[in-house]
Amino acid sequence: MKHIDEFSRSEEYISPFDRHFRRLLRKTIEESIMPFRRGYDEDWKDHHLIEPAFDRIMVGLGLQKGLFPIEHGGMGLANSDYFFRAGYMVCEELGRADTGFAVALGVTYWPLLVISVDPYVNKRLIAEFAPMFCDTNKAVFAANAMTEPQGGSDIENLGLLGGKTIRTTARLDGDEWVINGHKLWPTNSGGVSKLFGVPCTTKPGSNDPKDFAFIYVPADLPGVTQGGAYEKAGMAADKNGDIWFEDVRVPAWYRAHGPGRDAEAFYQLIPFGQVMSCAFLTGAMMNLYERLYEFVSTRTYNNRPLKENDAVAGIIGRIAGDIDICRILGYESAMIGDRRNKPYGKPLISEDVVGRIRNIKDFVSDRAVDCFGKAMDVLGLYGADRDWDIEKHWRDIKIVQLWMGGKQLCQMEAARYFFNCETL
């Protein structure tokens, strides 16, 4: 094999966006992220190093406009036939450099997806928020303020719980929603976001999807307070913190779609988030291959290059094989998303799509965690070195495995689908 692009994926799945944009994106990433990424950990609080790279990628290449329709100055990806695959390509390329960076960009799409992707489109809200992202020369972030202190991953388990554990309330007062609650851990919190998508309940304790409301809240409104960023094991480019909403008032039409449809549209985030997680992982794994290739070619065991020793070849062969298989699966998951409107496809919110995609993400995460751990051991004395980049990915990709309900929720969703479990 000559190049990382030769890791397998179905040629039929490659989108026009991929063909034209990947090379430019990769070049920009190699200039603006890769040379600096080893300093990102120490930049977790201030983002002095990280911010200019965001400007170049999100504004310079226009990626923060990706979802918005062309008439609003966007790229119109949300209503293309290849929205998931385009997203996969972007997230894979970014993941190759830095998965924290990738998730910050990917999550900016997340709340906007609720109003942008057929059949859940809200043109008025799109028009309202488009200028925030399309008419600026600074990187602008959005966040889904989902997780609550008491709820853990309950919000990602909407299929089972129907939102009954949500404590953030939305009360209609005239033509305004009044929002109160406390959220924590969203990607792009910690003072970064300009816009929050906030899952709320209009009737605390209810598991009726009609009482679930997804409401947009600009971050600069009175009553919105953001805490500082948490210090984490990795992913310094993604800031996370607490957000408090105290009698925050937004126009009534800032609710995404209305009773019932909010929950459906919101649930689309699960497959999207899981597919993009696969992309972060396969991107990072492709970089693992590049760095490992260099090490096993230039370092020896028994005075022969590591890669020429049968026992070592057995280990690194498995790693490369896993990367190949994971990439095939990752693109398949993206294609499942892009088939959503086809006669032979399934809606994003169907148990079929959620179960299959969760399953793929769980599998790819497990393989990634194993491959990075094993690669660090192959590097031995050098495995823990920042300079070899693999350890940074190892810290970062563990986080990808854990988020969105983590491994156990993936297992449950898969079991529910494949075995028709009725009580889990």
């Binding site: 080893r38 089972l160 719980l161 230039t298 020896t300 590591l306 031995g380 563990k398 495995q401």
Partner: protein, 413 residues
């Protein structure tokens, strides 16, 4: 907290005498009082408190002198018979902080290599003991074997490259080597324990003072874990080494690896036991699915069980290894080789098991797993670092070759 770890993670105590047990209890008290119950404070002022707490352990409690012979002013634990007690201490220090644990373990291993009765090096013991007997915390750095570089033919220790060379000179030996990588602490070491080869490629070990002429330290290296053990690449440029500071027997290297597999295994298991405590505390009051206790959910309980099982089995395996090491009171090559092989096998299993436990635990803890605030992520990073550096190169491949050689008499691998 407040769980009785020794009741939960049982290990054979029959080889531990009352003196050993009391020292272990003392170190447990230090660990609990000074670090384990003050995690937040310790994390926020890590650099300062690490130095302070380590000094308390090494100097105030005297553990720095643990393996120094009694007639040289030490505790006199310079015997393989003390292996079970040393293992218990490695666990206790690792439970507090793996960096303190590994620095202590390196010191103990060093003296065990040169001061055990069957292996005693009088002159070297005297000079090292003198160095260890003042009120300064001493830090050794171990430069062992590792990867070679393509295009270079290096002397080998069972396939692993030896990159330092000790050649005979008029006054003793001259040590040379470039870009050498210590396991830890290259930037802060008082002295170096270096696996080297003579002009004929015969492996040995040289002990070199950190301030010797010709020792050059590179810039500090950023690493995944063990962040208090400031590491750096080392160059030796014609460094003079006294004759008594060179151990020229293969068995010395094998014994050093055996001790390191035992004690670093102990450090990792200790870290894992504290990981368990933190996970157990966390799971005591977490709910899922809108109110079900997390630990009462069968899937989550099975993950929690995995964590405990791996740690418990790792501790038991190390107890067995300590018993094997304790029997090694003579220098018969076949006994040393057997211990070396078992130490490699068990050390590998232990590190793997502990990493598996931590990876499983993190899966359950989610964001609490990777937030620095909860501290489990530090244990996870520290143990992964120990695992990788202990392999040296090529993951478990060299260990598998050692095992195959021992059990099947392979001669070409």
């Amino acid at each position: 907290m407040g769980r009785n770890l020794d009741n939960l993670f049982v290990y054979p105590k029959q080889l531990m005498d009352e003196e050993s047990m009391s020292v272990v209890r003392l170190v447990r008290q230090w660990s609990d009082k000074e670090i384990v119950t003050r995690r937040m404070e310790y994390r926020e002022d890590y650099e300062k408190l690490f130095t302070l707490k380590r000094k308390m352990l090494c100097i105030d409690l005297g553990l720095q002198k643990l393996t120094i012979p009694a007639d040289l002013g030490g505790f006199g634990w310079n015997s393989p018979l003390k292996a079970p007690a040393l293992l218990a201490l490695a666990c206790e220090t690792g439970r507090a902080d793996a960096s303190i644990g590994i620095l202590s373990a390196a010191s103990w291993a060093l003296f065990l290599m040169i001061a055990c009765q069957h292996n005693h090096n009088d002159k070297l013991c005297d000079s090292l003991a003198a160095r260890y007997s003042d009120e300064t915390v001493r830090t050794p750095a171990l430069i062992l074997t590792g990867p070679g570089r393509t295009g270079m033919q290096t002397p080998l220790f069972f396939g692993r490259s030896i990159l330092a060379c000790a050649e005979k000179s008029e006054t003793g030996f001259t040590l040379n080597g470039e870009d050498l990588r210590p396991l830890i602490a290259g930037g802060m070491a008082d002295f170096f324990c270096v696996v080297c080869a003579d002009g004929n490629g015969k492996p040995g070990i040289a002990l070199v003072s950190g301030d010797a002429k010709g020792v050059k330290r590179g810039p500090s290296i950023l690493m995944t874990g063990l962040n208090a053990c400031g590491n750096a690449q080392i160059d030796f440029n014609h460094v003079p080494v006294p004759v008594e500071n060179v151990l020229d027997q293969d068995r010395n290297i094998e014994e050093l690896y055996s001790w390191l597999n035992l004690l670093l295994g102990g450090v990792s298991v200790g870290a894992a036991m504290n990981f368990f405590e933190l996970l157990a505390d966390w799971s005591d009051n977490r709910t899922i699915k809108g109110g079900v206790m997390l630990k009462e959910n069968p899937l989550c309980a099975s993950v929690l069980a995995d964590v405990a099982e791996e740690i418990a089995l790792a501790r038991l395996l190390l107890g067995d290894l300590a018993a094997i090491v304790a029997e090694q009171t003579e220098s018969r090559p076949e006994t040393i080789r057997r211990t070396f092989t078992y130490a490699g096998m068990i050390g590998h299993r232990v590190q793997q098991g502990v990493m598996h436990a931590m990876n499983r635990g993190l899966e359950l803890m989610g964001s609490a797993g990777y937030a620095k605030e909860w501290h489990v992520e530090k244990h996870w990073r520290d143990v992964k670092t120990i695992q990788s550096i202990l392999y040296g190169v090529a993951a478990e491949a060299p260990l598998k070759m050692d095992t195959a050689r021992f059990f099947y008499n392979c001669t070409e691998i």
